[in-house]
Amino acid sequence: MLQARNGDLETLNVLFERYCGMLYSFFMKRTQEHSLSEDLTQEVFLRVLRYRASFKDDGHFKGWLFGIARNIQNRHWERHYTKSEILNEDLRGEKAIEMIDTRNQPDVEACRSEDTALLYQALEQLSEEKRQIVIMRRIQNLSYAEMARILDCEAKLLKVRVCRAVAELAKHMKTLIKERPYEMPGMQ
């Protein structure tokens, strides 16, 4: 990001490849809409491009990036939806305000099952690094070779790391399903 700030804009393409999946999942969890999540992901990076001069030397890029993402999400909700605010439980010390969309959106794609919501919740319980590689491999369907190029590490090492991350995700899912107050039909 420092390189981009200092004029090497091509590095933003690399950053986009690295983080677009995480941003897309971030927005999907909150909007449940595929096209909107893609648009908002683009919007985040357009802001990164336009306001790159404000990134500080000692700044933490992921924190800055997701700060922009939360800002864009909130602005979007303020503009478009009547709000019903529910204070969500703390996720790593942050209070998340969850807005309910009361307007019928014609382009909503599949994504409203409770299991999906639990899966997104489990994903957010992973560390950022683990979440990133799970998303890149299992949601974006990038090959290990592509991931190795983007993340600048060995493919062989990535296979082990992704496996451990998915195993941890499986444990989180199991816990979340057990903690659910009721059993859905057909669930173990």
Binding site: L12, C20, S35, D39, L46, D107, I139, C163, L169, A170
Partner: protein
């Protein structure tokens, strides 16, 4: 094979990423280890759940890359114009370049002084004079903002747009200037900013109508994309014919075609819901 070595390879095993020998070793271990079989089952189910999640389209990276290229082209053009400007050494040019803005600020400050002075004197009998001064101030603000929009520096044009957004001046001249910046400004940042400013005026039907017309004129793909999204946000159903046309135009940018298709479906649904 020990469990730790096996467990680290289970995902690769599921994905078919192992060699024949490696796969055989895992099979042998799994046939004797309940714990690893159970872990394999959990990993498999989790992968199935992940596979069912919506995926970002493959064109997302290309779209951003295109936006970045457009931005860099706009920057290059802006720098070229600035360099042309600096070559002109006439003192008359350097005065008039900022002359309008400077003169406007001096007069503006003078009128502010008058207004402050008036507000501390007799108020009741000066109602009419307040109105006159306010009208003059409004005209001055408009004049200054429009003047900034004609400056050769992109930074100053952006400042002018920022000012217009804050002041929310509704005049024919301002709107025409905004449409011109959106369509013709050499700097992509200025075009984006013009569109953002027009968004604040888009509650007015005539503005939305004009924006629909502008969709028919050529522009950078990212600007057209933002324009389409603006029209959908404002539920402008009169844009349906042009959106359908764009979605069927083989010469149109692929991303814009997809966006126009989605947008026309959204608006059509809104229209049907109203009937």
């Amino acid at each position: 094979m020990k469990c730790l070595e096996c467990s680290d390879q289970l995902l690769a095993y599921l994905e078919g990423e192992l060699s024949v020998d490696e796969r055989q070793r895992i099979d042998d271990h799994l046939s004797q280890c309940d714990s690893c079989r159970s872990l394999l089952d959990e990993i498999s189910k989790t992968c199935q759940s992940l596979d069912e999640l919506p995926k970002p389209s493959e064109t997302m990276t290309k779209r951003f890359s295109a936006a970045l290229s457009a931005y860099k082209s706009g920057q290059t053009e802006g720098i070229r114009l600035l360099q042309d400007e600096r070559r002109k050494k006439s003192w008359v040019w350097s005065v008039t370049r900022n002359g309008y803005a400077q003169a406007a600020i001096i007069v503006f400050a003078f009128l502010i002084g008058i207004l402050v002075n008036e507000s501390t004197s007799i108020k009741e009998t000066n109602g009419n004079r307040f109105d006159v001064i306010e009208t003059e101030l409004a005209s001055l603000k408009e004049f200054t903002a429009l003047s900034l929009l004609t400056q050769t520096s992109a930074v100053e044009r952006l400042r002018g747009l920022e000012w217009l957004s804050e002041l929310n001046i509704e005049s024919e001249q301002v709107l025409e200037a905004l449409y011109d910046k959106l369509n013709n400004d050499p700097n992509i940042n200025v075009r984006f900013a013009a569109l953002e400013t027009l968004d604040t005026y888009a509650e007015k039907e005539e503005v939305r109508r004009k924006l629909v017309q502008l969709l028919e004129t050529p522009n950078l793909p990212m600007i057209r994309a933002e324009l389409i999204k603006l029209l959908v946000r404002h539920a402008e159903k009169d844009s349906l014919p042009i959106l359908i046309q764009i979605s069927q135009d083989a010469n149109e940018d692929e991303t814009i075609r997809e966006l126009a298709t989605w947008s026309s479906q959204v608006l059509q649904k809104m229209k049907n819901d109203e009937i």
